[in-house]
């Protein structure tokens, strides 16, 4: 704990905290377009942190990570609908439930799934996401393939933007500090050991099963929170919340920023979103080709992403950029 408080002075957490502070002020100084822009951006960043916990910290390729985002959305939507009429309290207080349910799901499938490694795990998570999407596609009480509009249940709370914005800023702040705290503490060493050589880590006393499941659930929690917030923000949940393109975007962000780094999601998220916005306007149909190419180039040339590569460049930067 003491170390964590000392950590404020390090450049990385300081920078991240300033970014969150800057984001918090945006609604007061900028117009609604920027606010919406930042909402989408923060959603991506929180998701990137959540995925980074699984891919970056334990090295497991979670291609189906979007399932937690979708689950979060449906939990929020489902709870709102279950109430029927007026809720009595602000719906955004339901968001933590989204996170908890997603984490519970991760715990349930984590036990069998995390025994599988490498490409098999990636395919398995993809399959699980597809399976869950099918379930919601056929769940007519929650809208089935058409989706569930939430407007009628939330008439008392017309302003979705403000609470969404602040929930996301807080979530981003928490996501960063959770990630950073783990990275720098005892857990970080255990996780990196698992990343390097899982079998050796075990014989050194690292309870690999516990660590893997904990990170998977933690990642699911943050993804669930982002999903619940997004569902409420959009006033709508549907099976598209499980679309795989979200996972694609997240991987591009992580690779761009640097897998396993604390700054990666922020850097990658910002670049990705700005560039994508630009590209979408100019080349609405080809932007995915562009991102596929970017992924290929980054994999071949910049495997550590921007932050990772900069760290390798100068040893001194290794201490500054984490």
């Amino acid at each position: 704990m003491k170390r964590l408080l000392q950590a404020w002075r390090r450049p990385t957490p300081l920078a991240a905290s300033l970014v969150c502070l800057a984001l918090a002020i945006v609604p007061a100084v900028a117009d609604s377009e920027w606010v919406t822009f930042c909402i989408t951006l923060m959603n991506l960043m929180v998701l990137a942190y959540s995925l980074n916990m699984v891919v970056g910290l334990i090295g497991y390729l979670d291609f189906g990570h979007v399932v937690f985002w979708g689950l979060g959305a449906y939990v929020a939507g489902g709870l709102v609908k279950a109430q029927g009429g007026p809720i009595g309290f602000h719906p955004f207080f339901l968001v933590p439930f989204s996170g908890l349910v997603a984490a519970a799901f991760a715990l349930a499938i984590g036990f069998p799934a995390l025994r599988i490694r490498g490409a098999y795990f990636a395919i398995a998570t993809y399959s699980i996401n597809a399976g869950v999407q099918t379930v919601f596609f056929n769940w007519n009480a929650l809208g089935g393939s058409e989706g569930l509009p939430l407007n009628r249940y939330l008439l008392e709370y017309p302003d979705k933007v403000t609470p969404t914005y602040y929930v996301l800023v807080i979530s981003l702040f928490l996501a960063f500090w959770t990630f950073y705290g783990i990275l720098k503490g005892r857990a970080g060493y255990g996780l990196r050991a698992i990343l390097n050589d899982e079998d050796v880590a075990q014989t050194m006393g690292v309870n690999t099963t516990a660590y893997k499941i904990a990170m998977y659930a933690l990642g699911a929690f943050f993804a669930g929170i982002a999903g619940g917030t997004w569902g409420l923000f959009q006033n709508f949940v549907d099976p598209e919340n499980f679309r795989i393109s979200v996972s694609v975007d997240l991987f591009v962000i992580m690779m761009l920023g640097g897998v396993g780094t604390a700054l990666g999601p922020l850097v990658g998220g910002a670049i990705f979103y700005f560039v994508r916005d630009l590209l979408m306007i100019r080349f609405p149909h080809l932007h995915l080709v562009f991102f596929g190419t970017v992924l290929v180039i980054v994999v071949l040339g910049l495997p550590g992403g921007l932050v990772g590569t900069l760290r390798e460049w100068r040893p001194r930067w290794r201490r500054v950029l984490e």
């Binding site: 025994r115 490409a119 098999y120 395919i123 597809a130 399976g131 056929n138 080709v289 992924l295 994999v299």
Partner: protein, 290 residues
């Protein structure tokens, strides 16, 4: 009544499953020898399908899918060679994450190029329409032809792997890379050839799929997933396993579709995959370690 339903499901499962099996053959070869999972596999299959489509719809009569099959082989080989020398070769030594992301990126690019060139519309190649009617059972002729072609192509592949020097080298490298190297086999070269053959097989499978079921850029991912599942079920690097795995998946799909609901087929295939991953990760014919 029930018996008819079951028999029809079996027939459907076997017919489509054989083509699935061929589709997975290329993937299992590449995966077994290089430990590279080609996420773009579905896109390669699609390329074969679209190639057939374009040739079939050429003005002035069009080209028969049988001819397209013969063209698909060198076309697929060429694409495979380009991808291998241009991209894959550079990441051969690196971690699983790296290679997966590379093929992931390739898959995204290819998929979107296809999306832009051909639009998201679903296509078919209507050739050899009609079906054989055996009492209450329906056997589409196109699928019967596809089955025949699968058998022919598999036979050719097996003969190649068993008899030819290159084929034997491939099997050797798959079993024990170091031993093969010490026998003077050019490992890099063999890996390249395996990938080229794998891609050509994917193209051929695409040709066959195009005459059997509708396709679109969106179907690339399901093709990939089906092929992966088959590889896991059959065992990596085991061609016979791939064919058998294909039949199993085809049967699972059809039985689920007939007796539960068409909508739940992806879920059923997922369950099959996870079951194998947990209980027998090496697959039916795979080598078990420990």
């Amino acid at each position: 009544m029930e018996l008819t339903l079951i028999t029809q499901a079996v027939i459907n499962g076997v017919l489509i499953g054989s083509v699935y099996g061929l589709a997975a053959l290329g993937l299992t070869l590449v995966w077994g020898i290089m430990d590279i999972v080609n996420i773009a596999h579905g896109e390669f299959i699609l390329l074969g399908a679209y190639l057939t489509f374009v040739l079939y719809n050429l003005p002035g009569g069009g080209v028969s899918p049988l001819l397209a099959l013969l063209i698909a082989i060198p076309a697929g080989a060429l694409v495979g060679q380009l991808v291998f020398t241009g991209l894959l070769r550079r990441v051969l030594g690196r971690s699983g994450l790296t290679t997966l992301l590379l093929t992931f990126g390739i898959s995204i690019c290819l998929n979107n190029i296809l999306l832009n060139v051909f639009s998201p519309d679903v296509r078919t190649v209507r050739w050899a329409g009609g079906s054989l009617l055996l009492g209450p059972l329906v056997v589409p002729i196109s699928r019967l032809i596809a089955l025949g072609l699968v058998l022919v192509m598999s036979g050719v592949l097996f003969a190649f792997l068993q008899r030819s020097y290159t084929g034997k080298s491939i099997r050797a490298v798959m079993q024990d890379r170091e031993a093969a190297a010490s026998l003077g086999i050019n490992i890099r070269g063999v890996l390249g050839i395996a990938f080229v053959i794998g891609t050509a097989l994917a193209f051929v499978a695409g040709v066959l799929l195009s005459i059997v079921i509708p396709f679109a850029p969106a179907t690339a991912l399901p093709y990939s997933i089906t092929s992966f599942v088959i590889c896991v079920v059959g065992g990596l690097g085991r061609p016979l396993g791939a064919l058998l795995g294909g039949l199993i998946v085809g049967l699972v799909e059809n039985f689920t579709g007939t007796f539960i609901s068409q909508a739940y087929t992806p879920a059923a295939v997922s369950v099959l995959l996870i079951t194998f991953l947990l209980l027998r990760p090496a697959g039916l014919f795979g080598w078990t370690t420990r």
